[in-house]
Structures are given as structure tokens and as C-alpha cells.
């Protein structure tokens, strides 16, 4: 029973200490971590871009390599934040009792969950920045507008991190995360316009894709990276933010129910 607790989380600025703890650990493991967050998406970009691109030719009036660069940035931020919010956060919650240790200090569960989502967002952003640097070195980025994609990606990664934390709150083991990957992350990856335009898909699949957040991230990020302004960016941003807000509220509620019973 967490009845007398308000449903809206009220994190304090103390969350920064938790975020910083994760940053310090990440710095210790920076080489393998960067390889995972950066090496793999770059491989996808090069393999699909060069290998596939020569077969596909132009898409939506741009080179396939340019098209897929913005897709890989978004999907990589999604994967990185989801991994952090599931495997890493679960380890801290259930295996290492890191959160229980924190709860013996002035930190509250609201601080911790908010910090974990923010940290997942940070890792998503780091991976996006590294790919953006490589993409611009390869001449795949149109102009400085691409920098505006970064705050959008940060918000999106927060959302994916918070969604992952909801799954973590329900997980009894690491195996549980496969459900979420198979039923949510992979469909989003394949159907949201990462590898090919959303418009190629049947109408009902498009509807399904637009009910999930990743397609909306691409609707904003792809124009910004290819040198145009996104049309109707506000509704897209609202969908991402609504998912994020709902997920952080639900994650905090579920983790409170799990740990502080």
C-alpha cells in the first residue's frame, strides 16, 4: 500500500547526486561502453548505408546514406536508453541493492527514479552525439540545424529510459526484458521509418507506428538533419513528452510499490 503517497513524483535537485554516481561508474567503463553505444550503430550506418544504399539509390529525394543516418541516430538513442533503463537499472535495483543504499540517505525514491531516467537520457544523448559527429564527418549532415535535434533526442531518450524503468519495475529476472524488446523496441525499430519511409507501409501499420513514440522522434529529427524544418513539430513533441511523463509517473509508482512496501 502506498496510499498516502501522491501519485505525481516530486523529485528534488538531489537527484543530481544519483545521476553523477552513474556518470562516475560509466567513466570507469568508458571503453567497452562507448564500443557498445557507438561502434555498433556506426557499423549499421556504414553497412546499410554503403551496402544497401547502392541498391536503393535515392529515398525521399536524398541519398540512402543520408536518409539512414538520421534513422540510426534515433534508434541508437532508443536502444541505449532502453538498455540502461532495463539491464543496468535492474542490476542496481535488484542485484546490487544500490537504490536501497541510497534510500538510507535524504534521497527519496522519486529522486532515484527520475535520476535513472535522466541518466538513460544522457547515455542516449551521448550515443547520438557521437554518431552525429561521425555522420557530419562523412558529409551526411546538411547544416547546423542538426544540433537542434539533440535536445529532442534527449527528451526522447528520457522517454525511452522511463518506459524501460516501467518494465524494470515489473521484471523478476533479466529474461523478462526480452518481451519488451520483442514486442515494443524491435517493432518500433522496424516500423518507425528508421530504414525506409513510413509511407511505404500499409495504412494500419502506419497508424500503429504513430501510436508509438519513435516515429514521432524521426518526424522531427530527420528534417533537422537533412536541412529542412520539420512540419508540425509540436504535436510530435507532445506525443514524446506525454509518453515520457506517463512513463515516469508509472515507473515511480511501480518501483515504490515494489521496494517500499
Amino acid at each position: 500500500m502506498s496510499g498516502d503517497h501522491p501519485i505525481l513524483p516530486r523529485p528534488s535537485l538531489r537527484f543530481v547526486a544519483v545521476w553523477r554516481r552513474n556518470l562516475l561508474v560509466w567513466r570507469k567503463l568508458i571503453v567497452p561502453s562507448m564500443l557498445g553505444n557507438f561502434g555498433e550503430p556506426i557499423l549499421y550506418l556504414l553497412a546499410f548505408g554503403y551496402g544497401f544504399g547502392s541498391l536503393v539509390g535515392d529515398l525521399d529525394g536524398m541519398r540512402y546514406m543520408v536518409f539512414i543516418a538520421s534513422g540510426i541516430i534515433c534508434s541508437s538513442a532508443m536502444f541505449t536508453a532502453s538498455f540502461e533503463g532495463m539491464y543496468s537499472a535492474y542490476t542496481r535495483m535488484a542485484e546490487q541493492n544500490t537504490w536501497l543504499g541510497m534510500l538510507a540517505t535524504p534521497l527519496t525514491l522519486d529522486d532515484i527514479v527520475f535520476a535513472e531516467a535522466s541518466w538513460a537520457a544522457t547515455k542516449g544523448l551521448i550515443s547520438a552525439i557521437t554518431i552525429l559527429v561521425v555522420a557530419s564527418l562523412l558529409g551526411l549532415v546538411a547544416d547546423a540545424r542538426a544540433l537542434l535535434a539533440l535536445p529532442v533526442i534527449f527528451l526522447a531518450a528520457f522517454t525511452f529510459g522511463a518506459l524501460a524503468l516501467v518494465i524494470t519495475a515489473l521484471a523478476r529476472s533479466y529474461d523478462f526484458f526480452l518481451y519488451y524488446f520483442t514486442l515494443a523496441v524491435t517493432p518500433m525499430l522496424l516500423l518507425s521509418g528508421v530504414f525506409f519511409p513510413l509511407t511505404e507501409l500499409p495504412g494500419w501499420v502506419q497508424g500503429l507506428a504513430l501510436a508509438l513514440p519513435l516515429a514521432h522522434v524521426l518526424e522531427i529529427v530527420r528534417p533537422l538533419m537533412t536541412g529542412t524544418w520539420p512540419a508540425a513539430w509540436l504535436p510530435h513533441l507532445a506525443v514524446i513528452a506525454a509518453y515520457g511523463l506517463g512513463a515516469i509517473i508509472l515507473a515511480t509508482y511501480l518501483i515504490r510499490r515494489r521496494l517500499l512496501r
Binding site: M1, S2, G3, D4, H5, S12, R14, A17, V18, R20, R21, L24, V25, K28, Q96, N97, T98, L100, G101, M102, L103, A104, T105, P106, L107, T108, L260, R261
Partner: protein
Amino acid sequence: MSAIHIQQLYKAYDGVAVVDGVDLEIAPGEFFGLLGPNGAGKTTTLRMLLGMTPIDGGQVEVLGLPMPEGERAVRERLGIVPQFDTLDPDFTVIENMRTYAAYFGLAGPEVESRIDRLLGQVNLNDKRGARIDALSGGMKRRLTLARALINEPEVVVLDEPTTGLDPQARHHLWRQLRALRASGVTLVLTTHYMEEAEELCDRIAIIDHGRIIACDAPSRLIAEHIEPWVLTVGGADAGEVLQRELGPKDRAHQVADTWLVYTAEPDRLRERLRTLGHEPTLREADLEDVFLKLTGHELRD
């Protein structure tokens, strides 16, 4: 003002009460022990005290602040040594101290010298750079205690701090706790080791089935709740003999194949048993006898 004030505390899981009307007053500077069999409600009571479990009924005030509303402010002034290890395995000893300090919003040169002092106190100064998984169980407990003192707490709460420690490590921890007591810190301890509670605590509450069934100084608990002497008798016919020879005020209790006789006048019975060929041993009753009398001898899980 009490350091801790608990009134009619109540907690139920799935309709079953695990803490059922607990009242406690703990004075500032007191070393207070909470004893009880497994599942008696000790840890749940502590968790409600710390704001780590929602309170279903009753009131808890820590340092004058109501819980759980005051959880942040309370935990800022509290040191907590949890039952299970929560040290951060991703960090070294010194990094654990610094990170934990940061959770309190503490950083800077003053904190660094405090960390040095605390690590010195628990004999871990030469382990500063060690990884947590390279520490022994005793070292981990000492580090957990040092970490819990980082905010110079007014109240320190310890949930079974010496479980699994060897006698040397246990005595070392006791010395630390006595020093804290001497410096005016209020201490609340749960333990399964009766001699530990008897040794350390000014006052002890015995809790069972979610209720406090006795609460007093250890010596007074022994004086009030149990006969002063215990005769231990073994042998196949001991029960039979005791049935005949037991004095009117004596109590006999069988544990496995030995009998415990609680008595105020052991001499006559001891002589009788000896002449009948038994070899009874005589000792003074202690807190464990009180505990077993009040909570029963049945196994708990």
C-alpha cells in the same frame, strides 16, 4: 523530547498484521535494543521508522519530526546500517564514502578529512583503494558503519549489524558502538545475539507477533521475568526424575534431549539429582532464557 516516539504503530500485509500496536519511547543518547524471533516485526518497525515502509496506522516521530512526511529531514540526521550489504560494488572503498557523502549533499575538504577520520576509526585506511568484492565480511560491515556516520548522525539505526561476523570482528564493532554511545549518539539495534543486546543496550524491547511483550533494562528483564538459576540435566530418565523431584515453584523445560530447570533454589534439587547419578550443571539465568520464556521454544522461520 524523545529521540524516537512510536505510538500504536500498525502494519498489515495482505490483511495479516505484522506490527500490531507497538508503542516505544527512546530517549536521546539511549542505546536501545529490539529483539524478537524472525518475522516478529522488528525489521518492519525499523523500516517504518526510516520511511522505507508505508505506515498503515499509528504515529512515528523521529527527532520530533513526523514520519513519513519528514523522511528527507529525518534521514539527513540519521545513520543507517542495513541488514543486507548495500555497498556500491562499482566503487572502491574511498569512492563509496565520497559517493555516499554526495547523497547527503556533502562534499569538499571538510568531508575529505571526515572520511579519513572515519576510515581510520574502522581500521580501513589501508584499504582506501580496494574494490568492495576484495573486502572480507567484517571489513564490509565496518565500511557500512563508517559510511553511515558520514553525516555525523544524531541517531544510528543498526539492523542485525553483526550477523555472520567472527568474534573478533564482532567485538571490534561493539567497541565502535560503545564509543558512539559515549559521544551522545542515540542507537537502535536489532540482533539475534542475546549476549550482544545484554552487553550493549541500556534498554531492550522484546517483540513478538507484532507486539512488544516486554521492555526494560536487560538486568531488570532477567530479574522480573525469570527465576535466577538454571539447572541443565541430561540423560534418558531425566524427565522422569524431575517429575518426582521438582520443587513447587520450579519450572522444567525440555529442549531436545536435555532438560532446563528454572529455579530460585537450585541447591536441594542439584544434590538430589547428583545422588541419583545425574550431573546437572548450574548457571545464572540470562537474557536468552527470558527471550525463550517469553517467545516460546518453537522454531520460527
